[in-house]
């Protein structure tokens, strides 16, 4: 390592030699940086899983434009939309089809644990609006009180989920009715519910008698191939000039919901602050270590000043130490972070993981912030007066 750094730096790697000389302090500093990394990774992992799980239900469907109530910031909240607007939208030459989408939470008493499933009511005859995996098995929903259940839902064992087939369906009570799951699909627990359930719009309305078939939660539109969703959205906004509606492309709806979840919802804001705290903890730890190190070596640094070493040299040494701490602290940090997120993913069924992009971002951030801490710590070097050496 020493030789490699000598080659890289073109000088003795004083920063490295200073760090390894005091192994206890070095280990403590690395632990501190690793700890800060773990904090950041866990918070980023949670934030990222919020994004992934937020987008998950959008992947069950295929559409180009989504019409929702103006107060619908997510798929699961907001008011209803009158079906008449779907008919109005179909007047646009680029809109080829539309489907009402009903959404509500359905409780499922599982004995020791009660779970809550985000339930979508769809028209089983409009398979073009469904993701291929779901569309393939959607015929069963034509039967009243039939359902397709999320096999990754929390509280559902793998064995139970694997046993659900047309010949061996799983029946359960909810909303005063008995639903029968004939098939499964891959969803997964999120921050809103423990999993998903797909039923026909008719079954949905029998589960929620107060709801009306003329007022779904959202309207999904499909466009003819080659049509520009943004241009159609603009036209629809003129055609349907109702301020209680929100007309967006499906892609924009997904982006807006992720942004809403991460910046407006308390959980998203908390995770964001968690990342900030992790970064601050890292900066403080590296600054403290380097600051103490500079203070311990003031006499040696003063000697170097007397010998003719300039400020750039000292800055180089301290930044060298900072970068070493950042790089070497990152390695245990990413390993521990990965382990913790994997464990949390198992327990919560949330999509918690460290993506390559996340790892690269945190690595660059760690090195940059460590270097910044080092630069701040060099201010103490002003106290190294070579005249005091005599």
């Amino acid at each position: 390592m020493s030789r490699l750094l000598t080659r890289l730096l073109g000088r003795l790697p004083i920063g490295w030699l200073q760090l390894v000389h005091q192994r206890g302090r070095f280990a403590a500093a690395l632990s501190g940086v690793a700890f800060a990394n773990v904090l950041v990774f866990v918070q980023l992992g949670l934030m990222s899983s919020m994004g992934v799980s937020t987008l998950r239900p959008y992947q069950f469907f295929q559409g180009d434009i989504l019409i929702s109530a103006a107060d619908a910031n997510t798929l699961t909240d907001g008011g209803n939309v009158a079906r008449q607007w779907m008919l109005q939208a179909l007047a646009d030459p680029d809109v080829v089809d539309g489907m009402g989408l009903f959404v509500a939470m359905v409780p499922w008493d599982r004995g020791e644990t009660d779970i809550s499933l985000t339930t979508f009511g769809i028209d089983p005859f409009r398979t073009a609006f469904l993701a291929p995996e779901i569309a393939a098995d959607i015929d069963v929903l034509q039967v009243q009180d039939a359902a397709i259940l999320d096999r990754l839902a929390r509280g559902l064992t793998q064995e139970e989920a694997a046993a659900i087939r047309l010949q061996t369906p799983l029946s359960f009570e909810t909303q005063g009715r008995t639903l029968t799951a004939y098939d499964t699909f891959a969803g997964g627990g999120g921050f809103v519910g423990d999993g998903y359930l797909l039923v026909s719009d008719q079954t949905f309305l029998s589960l929620f008698p107060a709801r009306s078939s003329g007022a779904p939660d959202h309207i999904l539109l499909r466009l003819r191939p080659g049509a520009q969703p943004d241009a159609v959205v603009d036209r629809l906004k003129t055609l349907i000039a109702d301020p209680t509606l929100r007309i967006r492309s499906y892609a924009d709806a997904m982006d807006e919901e992720v942004r809403f979840q991460q910046t407006q919802r308390p959980t998203g804001v908390i995770f964001g602050f968690g990342v900030l705290i992790g970064v601050l903890v890292g900066i403080v730890i590296v600054f403290q270590v380097l600051s103490a190190d500079v203070a311990d070596h003031l006499r040696e640094y003063a000697t170097f000043k007397a010998m003719g070493y300039g400020q750039g040299f000292f800055l180089g040494v301290v930044v060298e130490e900072a970068v070493i701490l950042g790089v070497l602290g990152f390695i245990p940090g990413v390993i521990a972070g990965w382990g913790i997120l994997t464990l949390m993913a198992k327990v919560t069924t949330l999509p918690l993981f460290i993506s390559f992009g996340m790892a690269v971002t945190v690595f660059i951030g760690t090195v940059v912030f460590s270097a910044l801490s080092g630069m701040i710590a060099t201010r103490r070097l002003a106290a190294a007066d070579p005249a005091d050496l005599f």
Partner: protein
Amino acid sequence: MPDEDLSIRASALNHWFGAGEARKQALFDIDLRIRRGSFIVMVGPSGSGKTTLLTLLGCLREIQEGSVLLLGQELRNATTAQNVRLRRRLGFIFQAHNLHESLTARQNVLMGLQVKGRMDREVSDKAAAHILTLLGLSERLDYLPANLSGGQKQRVAIGRALVGNPDVVLADEPTAALDWETAASVVDLLKQLGRARGTTTLMVTHDNRILDRADRILTLEDGRLVGDEDRT
């Protein structure tokens, strides 16, 4: 003596410490001309201003009044960058060795070479080993300071000051921690450098045995240069 033969020329040099009523003058009208290659010893009681003069001549302190011409460069009003460049042509030997605890003897000496810029690693390693061998430390090249005796540490510090072939060596009691045999060899080495390379040495010492080897002895008392004995 023409200026080009001089390493150091101080004229009407005054220096004070403190401010206001606490202001105290440490040096009074110092006039000094030191020839290139000479071995000068400076003596005087504690508090006489020897160290202050050494730090002023070594551009470690700002010149308040008067003039100092070091290696042809005026130090009065010199910029920090000019001072830093000039210090690279000097060799400092402090009473305390001030070795870097994390660096081996060889690495500490290499710091004296590295300050002059990039050098071939093999060449600089050999130069560091050579000077340490001259100082009797060939068996201790890769020892950390913690594993060296006081005298050995001081010899490493001397090696660090001399390895870069400085034009001027400024030394404050450099032989205090050395036995006489080693101290004499250090003095001989400095004198030899003076003859061979024109290195000027200005050394503060209380060791009378070294006085016998000096080309010139300067005596300071109460901040004034009261004696200047040329022994060449």
